[in-house]
């Protein structure tokens, strides 16, 4: 079975969401600049000069007995750059409803998107929708509030209550729109720079989760960093442990090496697997325990890694491991394995 832990789906027209909004909000959103902005929300990495994607094909899941997919409504992630945080919740509610209606099948589940700006509302949405078998995860668009802070506790609590992993993926406006998180450094020259540096957002938020003790507060919390690749993890694990050893008195709430929580509470994905060539040179950095936290994701329709791509770069052993790990992450039951 192919377990694709992160592919994307989006609406072709913003007007398609109107049926999932109250009438008054339809009138609010029915304006040229918003309906015309669907190409912006659909661009997976928002451009400032070059680096763009063609319009994405519509996602129509069928019943594929040999495939399980977690679907990220990537357009919803862009609310991390929105100025109207109230309207953003209406938009997300509509997008999640549309996703449940169109992107879920017997072989696909939806990673609902919540608002980073209103954790209490988000928690209630997770409890409302999350009981449904259609929902397979909860996407939190990144904000400047680091993921380890208590700002997110209501969301984490609700995710644990519903048994859902938190899914973190960049929207593409990071380092570009005000209000969204910055990238490292300052103003970047173009979209290629920004795309290359996106894993640093995962690094920073992973460090925040580890140093703030989030997994001591929520031992069952599972955080899935999707689409950031995985080669950066060993370097970060060594670094957090060194800082902890240097400054244990500064963070007495951490009872053990922070990197241990990476192995029990965090997940990472394969895309873009093309950056993981030269396996022999780096594989020694990946312990067996760490390899159990890496899952396959196609990232389709952006880039769209296939299982064959992964096998060509990493070999069959890694592919088999990723599929097992993916089942564990998504909690799908296959054969005798729960």
């Amino acid at each position: 079975m192919i377990v694709d832990c992160a592919r994307h789906a989006g609406v072709k027209r913003h007007q398609d969401l109107f049926d999932y909004m109250p009438h008054s909000w339809q009138k609010h959103f029915d304006r040229y600049e918003w309906t015309g902005a669907v190409d912006l929300t659909s661009n997976h990495i928002r451009v400032s000069s070059k680096f763009r994607h063609d319009p994405i094909p519509e996602y129509k899941p069928g019943a594929e007995p040999d495939r399980m997919t977690l679907v990220i409504p990537h357009q919803g992630l862009t609310v991390n750059g929105w100025a109207d945080r109230v309207g953003a919740k209406v938009y997300l509610d509509a997008l999640n409803s549309y996703g449940e209606a169109h992107w879920v099948s017997s072989s696909s589940k939806l990673a609902m998107v919540v608002s980073p700006h209103d954790p209490v509302w988000s928690a209630s949405e997770i409890r409302r929708r999350g009981a449904s078998p259609k929902i397979g995860g909860v996407c939190i668009p990144l904000s400047t509030e680091m993921l380890g802070t208590r700002h997110w506790d209501p969301i984490y609590e609700a995710c644990i209550e519903r048994g859902l992993p938190v899914v973190i993926h960049y929207s593409g406006v990071e380092g570009s729109y005000t209000g969204a998180p910055p990238l490292a450094g300052s103003v970047h020259q173009n979209a290629l720079s920004r795309l290359i540096l996106m894993p640093q957002l995962a690094e920073s938020n992973a460090a925040s989760l580890l140093f703030e003790g989030a997994f001591y507060r929520f031992p069952k919390l599972q955080i899935f960093f999707a689409g950031f690749g995985f080669k950066w993890i060993p370097s970060l694990m060594r670094r957090v442990d060194q800082e902890w050893r240097n400054f244990r008195s500064d963070m007495p709430w951490l009872l053990d090496e922070p990197s241990k929580k990476v192995l029990s509470n965090m997940w990472f994905s394969s895309y873009p697997v093309g950056e993981a060539g030269g396996l022999v040179a780096w594989e020694g950095e990946f312990s067996a325990a760490l390899r159990k936290r890496i899952v396959f994701n196609s990232h389709a329709p952006f880039g769209n890694d296939t299982v064959e791509d992964v096998e060509r770069v990493l070999g069959k052993t890694w592919v088999d491991s990723m599929m097992r790990n993916g089942r564990a992450l998504l909690r799908y039951k296959t054969g005798t394995e729960a």
């Binding site: 070059k50 680096f51 400047t144 509030e145 680091m146 802070t149 990071e174 380092g175 998180p181 910055p182 990238l183 490292a184 450094g185 300052s186 103003v187 970047h188 020259q189 173009n190 290629l192 720079s193 290359i196 540096l197 894993p199 640093q200 957002l201 690094e203 920073s204 938020n205 460090a207 925040s208 140093f211 703030e212 690749g229 080669k231 950066w232 060993p234 370097s235 060594r238 670094r239 060194q242 800082e243 902890w244 050893r245 240097n246 400054f247 008195s249 500064d250 963070m251 093309g274 950056e275 993981a276 060539g277 030269g278 040179a281 780096w282 594989e283 020694g284 950095e285 312990s287 880039g303």
Partner: protein, 374 residues
């Protein structure tokens, strides 16, 4: 240039040693008015050298001390302020042939809004160190400090001091502009003209001010969390220099990345190549694989060396493509996280030791980096 050495007498070039000044008043002879009064008068002189500090210590306070307690000189003053003591405390015990001095006080200039004051302080500090450290012992070499407050003034200083005996590089402070900005071109031009590599070292102000560079994501809570992600800023500036075509404009420019770590090169180099190959039009200034620019133009220092536990992990850390030609030994003396030279050198694979300990330094700085041997 290949330097032949006798077995057992391998030179060691420590590419990160921080000299400090005893007291702000020692700069008095090197400051003209109005800067003498500006720096030495009133509240500034009352706070000793504490005001010359980039990190906002009320925002990110160090949990202990920033320096090693055993590095305080008997003669008084802060750690790293006595050239004789640095020799007896660090260079001689570890057989260090050359210490590349990266002055610390000028890091505080990173938070100056006043460009003229920044230049005056940098000049005074450079001249003081040339007079008191470089002339004291030939084991000392200096990366003279400039900042981008006023690039033309910085370029003039590089040309004025760049051929002084013992000056082997330029320490360029990272302010709010990314290193690929054309703003830096006068500095890079002067450095190339004087055949001096440019060193980037964290100044401590990163993540502290509205006008400083930041790690990705948001505001780290603690010193340790911030310190974990500081290398991101080094990586981001490397990326920016390549994407903006700095090395097409300055083909002989050499960059030394000090104290940013190096094991993250494993993902950065392969990611930049992969994504560039997916869309070669994304940056019109990149003419070849981005990782080739890194291998050709950049070196990285060993400290802080990742504390890997397994042999396979250590082998992978040092197995990064072309790392044998990019890595320079460093200790970060006298800071709290100084790497023990014996421990670090012991971990470097045998086949890389000569290159890391001195040969790469010679390739980067020229034979003058071994001035004590000549």
């Amino acid at each position: 240039m290949t330097i032949s050495v006798d077995k057992g007498k391998m030179p060691i070039v420590d590419c990160d040693v921080h000299p400090l000044i005893k007291d702000i008043n020692v700069l008095s002879p090197y400051l003209a008015e109005p800067w003498r009064e500006y720096f030495l008068g009133g509240v500034r002189s009352g706070s000793s050298n504490g005001f010359i500090y980039a990190r906002a210590r009320d925002k990110y306070n160090h949990p202990n001390t920033t320096y090693r307690l055993d590095s305080l000189p008997d003669s008084g003053g802060p750690a790293g302020s006595d050239p004789a003591f640095t020799i007896s405390n660090h260079l001689e015990p570890y057989g260090i042939t050359t210490a590349l001095l990266l002055p610390q006080e000028p890091y505080g200039v990173a938070r100056f809004g006043n460009a003229a004051a920044a230049a005056a302080f940098e000049r005074a500090n450079n001249e003081y160190l040339i007079d008191t450290w470089l002339s004291y012992d030939k084991r000392y070499t200096l990366a003279m400090t400039v900042s981008s407050h006023d690039p033309k003034s910085a370029a003039a200083d590089i040309r004025r001091l760049g051929k002084m005996p013992g000056v082997v590089g330029v320490q360029l402070l990272i302010l709010n502009h990314m290193a690929g900005s054309p703003l830096f071109d006068p500095i890079y031009e002067a450095a190339c003209e004087m055949e001096l590599p440019v060193a980037f070292h964290q100044n401590g102000g990163e993540g502290c001010y509205t006008y400083s560079q930041n790690p990705a994501g948001g505001v780290p809570r603690s010193y340790g969390e911030r310190h974990t992600v500081l290398p991101q800023i080094g990586a981001a500036n490397i990326m920016d220099m390549i994407v903006s075509g700095v090395f097409e404009r300055f083909p002989t420019l050499r960059i030394v990345m000090v104290e940013w770590g190096f094991t993250w090169l494993s993902w950065l180099m392969s990611r930049m190549d992969h994504l560039w190959e997916a869309d070669r039009t994304a940056s019109p200034w990149i003419k070849r694989r981005p990782s080739e620019y890194i291998a050709e133009h950049f070196t990285f220092t060993t400290q802080p060396l990742d504390e890997a536990t397994h042999a396979s992990e250590i082998a992978a850390m040092f197995g990064i493509k072309n790392l044998d030609k990019m890595l320079l030994f460093s200790s970060d003396y006298p800071h709290y996280d100084t790497d023990d030279p014996q421990l670090t050198i012991g971990k470097i694979p045998n086949e890389m030791k000569e290159r890391v300990c001195f040969q790469n330094a010679v390739d980067t700085f020229g034979a003058k980096i071994l001035r004590s041997l000549s």
